[in-house]
């Protein structure tokens, strides 16, 4: 908005002080005095060496009011989305885009009730965002949609209506994922009946729900398959066709002991391998193909001695993977049973091929969520739902580079664009 009156008034106020020439609309009228007289303008003019009636000194030019951007379609390797469920005011969910190299807040999305996080699609340069809105904020008619945002303008575009069933949970990456070719968006539903909504991103339509009774969340295993984790410790692998309709499903044998030492939901993936970690810190590698899942050799994040001292992984997003360096990052704390959601004071780094620890990185402040950028000089990014700071470290050395403050109210998960 750029009303002519505002435009006119502001420069005029400046001119009034330093300009020569008739003022306002009284040009030529009697009593008009030129303000060119007096010592001040003359002195200023002399100091600044400017001549002429229009500009005695350099002054700021008037500015139009525009939108910042466009943002780069492919942001730099050190940009990150910080999701925020805004736990105290959940109707106002957000995601913030941060340039971690400069500590700059580049913009945000406003994303409705109980926000879990965005799902960026690199191939189509679209941000998919499953969202929930009530007609009266926190009550009324519920509408769930997948909003498509343009990552260059951070503006909402099309919406795809979906059944108002998406699981309302603490934010997790595997609540909503794209198939490997980014053709279908899969969303975990919980009413408490469990199912998966399938959305065709090309046709921008909801295709249908797949019954996954007894099983939770979605982990892609190919362009047309995914698995969910089941209450009996098996995994349910589901295949879909070109239209997103289920073509078959199969359970693995029991791979997880939910009673003795369950794995957390926060598995990470590189290519055909997932790594899950248990409450006590045992790693379960899973080799996946579109039609099969098998468990690899388990290994521990900790030595027996460290376990006795209570070292365990914990937090909301406690694992991160650097795919080309084959390094697994885990947030660690000391605690006993029931501390699997506690934030950690250190990040331990492992070579996943060998299952060996490479280094221990002390953190400047407690972290519950971490992410590692994918480049050759990676950053380790750390957030905590009880803090408003995003901490930035060199992933390889652990050097604390900067704190980006005032990021969110209850920041949750970190997602790379």
């Amino acid at each position: 908005m750029w009303p002519a009156e505002v435009r006119a008034a502001w420069p005029a106020r400046q001119h009034r002080r330093f300009r020569c020439g008739a003022r306002g609309s009284h040009a030529g009228g009697e009593g008009t005095r030129s303000r060119c007289t007096g010592w001040a303008p003359a002195l200023l003019g002399a100091i600044l060496g400017l001549a002429g009636p229009r500009a005695s000194i350099a002054e700021l030019a008037p500015e139009p009011l525009i939108n910042e951007g466009p943002l780069p379609a492919h942001p730099g390797p050190h940009w990150v989305w910080v999701n925020d469920i805004v736990f105290d005011y959940m109707a106002d969910g957000r995601a913030y885009l941060i340039d971690a190299d400069t500590g700059t807040f580049r913009g945000m999305l406003s994303t409705g009730y109980g926000y879990l996080g965005i799902v960026p699609a690199r191939s189509s340069e679209t941000l998919y965002s499953p969202e929930t809105y009530f007609s009266r904020g926190t009550r009324g008619t519920r509408a769930d949609v997948v909003t498509l945002y343009d990552p260059k303008t951070l503006s909402p575009g099309a919406e795809i209506p979906i059944p108002p069933k998406r699981a309302a949970i603490m934010p997790m990456v595997n609540a909503a994922v794209l198939t490997d070719d980014e053709r279908f968006l899969l969303i975990y539903n919980f009413t408490p009946a469990q199912s998966v909504s399938v959305i065709d991103t090309r046709n921008r339509s909801f295709v249908g729900e797949i019954d996954t009774a007894g099983c939770a969340l979605v982990y892609p295993t190919g362009p047309r398959s995914f698995f969910s984790i089941c209450a009996d410790g098996s995994l349910l692998q589901v295949s879909i066709d070109e239209h997103g309709k289920p073509t078959g499903s199969a359970h693995t044998p029991k791979l997880i002991d939910a009673e003795a030492d369950p794995v957390t939901e926060k598995g990470v993936r590189s290519g055909d391998t997932y790594w899950f970690v248990s409450f006590k810190g045992e790693v379960l590698p899973l080799k996946v193909s579109p039609t099969q899942i098998s468990a690899g050799t388990r290994w521990w994040l900790t030595s027996a001695e460290e376990r006795k001292k209570g070292w365990r992984p914990g937090g909301l997003q406690h694992l991160a993977i650097h795919r080309t360096l084959h390094q697994l990052y885990a947030v660690m704390h000391q605690g006993g049973e029931g501390t699997h959601k506690d934030p950690g004071s250190e990040v331990w780094v492992f070579d996943v091929a060998q299952g060996k620890r490479l280094r221990t990185l002390p953190l400047a402040s407690p972290a519950g969520s971490i992410q590692v950028t994918e480049d050759a000089r990676p950053l380790l990014l750390a957030a905590f739902i009880g803090s408003h700071d995003l901490e930035v470290y060199e992933a390889l050395s652990g050097k604390h580079l900067r704190t980006v403050s005032a990021i969110g109210l209850t920041p949750t998960t970190l997602v790379l664009p």
């Binding site: 009413t191 408490p192 009946a193 019954d211 009774a213 007894g214 099983c215 089941c230 209450a231 009996d232 359970h251 939910a258 009673e259 003795a260 006795k308 209570g310 006993g336 049973e337």
Partner: protein
């Protein structure tokens, strides 16, 4: 005091509960204290336990439905739990001659996965002449 923590965890893991407690811990969260569930979201047990327990297909379903089969309970605990539920939560008297579930029976059903719970339930309800 890590050894004490170890002891506590061991105690909790080893404890076997009575059927009513198992119902509360494993089923009540969704099916509610009286088994009535939530219309449209969670099926009622009150109206279906006895009709289902009266047919082989229905008995198989009661065991194979994920809430039962995927629970951490043993076959024996599930048998005792189902028998307790039939007596305590049903909206009608237990018919004379309705057989109790046994651990063996539960085990025989449990080794098979139920393909489509929702469709199976609809079929069973139709067969039982109920509207669920």
């Amino acid at each position: 005091m890590p050894w004490l923590l170890g002891m506590l965890v061991a105690v909790q893991a080893a404890h076997a509960y009575e059927p009513q407690a198992n119902y509360m811990l494993n089923c009540m969260g969704c099916h509610l204290e009286d088994g009535s569930g939530a219309p449209g979201k969670v099926p009622s047990l009150r109206t279906t336990l006895i009709p289902f327990a009266q047919t082989p297909a229905g008995r198989r379903y009661l065991v194979q439905v994920p809430g039962t089969s995927q629970s951490a309970l043993s076959d024996r605990e599930i048998a005792e739990l189902l028998n307790w539920m039939i007596r305590s939560l049903s909206d009608r008297a237990v018919p004379r001659g309705l057989g109790d579930f046994t651990a063996g029976e539960v085990g025989s059903y449990r080794s098979e996965r139920l393909r489509d719970a929702a469709a199976t339930r609809v079929r069973l309800l139709a067969a039982a002449g109920n509207r669920g």
